[in-house]
Symmetry: C2
Subunit: 148 residues, 2 copies
């Protein structure tokens, strides 16, 4: 009997995690900090409230992550142009370059993985994974909305 699809997907998740941990080993960056940089790379300069929403984490937590990343020179805190309560967090030029490089490696890994799939299966795999993602997202969203 074939292993469950879910088990394979969980194994893939675990392997991704190890891969990323290795990629940032020695840089002083941790998974949570990399995630925040990733979000900043996509969203551009953002308030800490916005980052908290995007990272699905409390604002207090963002304070700590931004403190650390500011200390290591990856982000800067700047004033918000119209709201003196808020700060705008943005990537430093160096971090921005690092993230761009990461994005390229990301795309390269994608090609490599797709290359491991038999050519005649590729379209079906793309469709299938999209369907699984959509279905799982529906399940989780519905569960989250159930008052319990």
């Amino acid at each position: 009997m074939q292993p469950l699809l879910v088990d394979r997907l969980l194994q893939i998740a675990d392997l991704f995690q190890k891969d990323m941990a290795r990629a940032f080993e020695g840089t002083g960056l941790t998974p949570a900090r990399v995630h925040l940089l990733w979000v900043l790379q996509h969203a551009g300069p953002s308030t800490q409230q916005a980052l908290a929403r995007l990272c699905e984490v409390t604002p207090r937590n963002i304070t700590g992550l931004v403190d650390a990343l500011e200390g290591s020179g990856h982000v800067r805190r700047g004033p918000h142009p119209s709201d003196r309560r808020a700060v705008l967090v943005e990537l430093t030029p160096e971090a921005s370059e690092t993230m761009a490089r990461m994005q390229e490696e990301h795309a390269a890994l994608d090609e490599t993985l797709l290359g491991a799939v038999a050519p005649e299966d590729r379209a079906a795999v793309q469709r299938g994974i999209a369907a699984i993602t959509a279905h799982l997202e529906t399940l989780v969203t519905e569960a989250a909305e159930t008052p319990r």
Copy 2:
């Protein structure tokens, strides 16, 4: 342009995590503790050293997790029959039942997700995900063995 396969897989990983968090909400169990129970369910009674290897975590860490799970009545520490230094950790009957139930839900989720894939794509998806898992595992293992 279609989103990267890697992004979908990362999203799936994130959704699984949320799904599991929700499943154990209110039980006092945490992801690391559930993982240990899962390992015990598959491996049977084990020494803490063995659990440390299987969870890929330090023995010290296992001490803490087992302490917590013993306190909540999920596992028992028993003597090792031939080595008085070691302890054997095993699931309590109640936890064993909980894990069996979880395993069923796991299989049910698998069917649901596979059901979301078009019937004519299913075989290709199974093959493709197996190929991706194998390839990724090779990549990560090789990277881990590189002395750096």
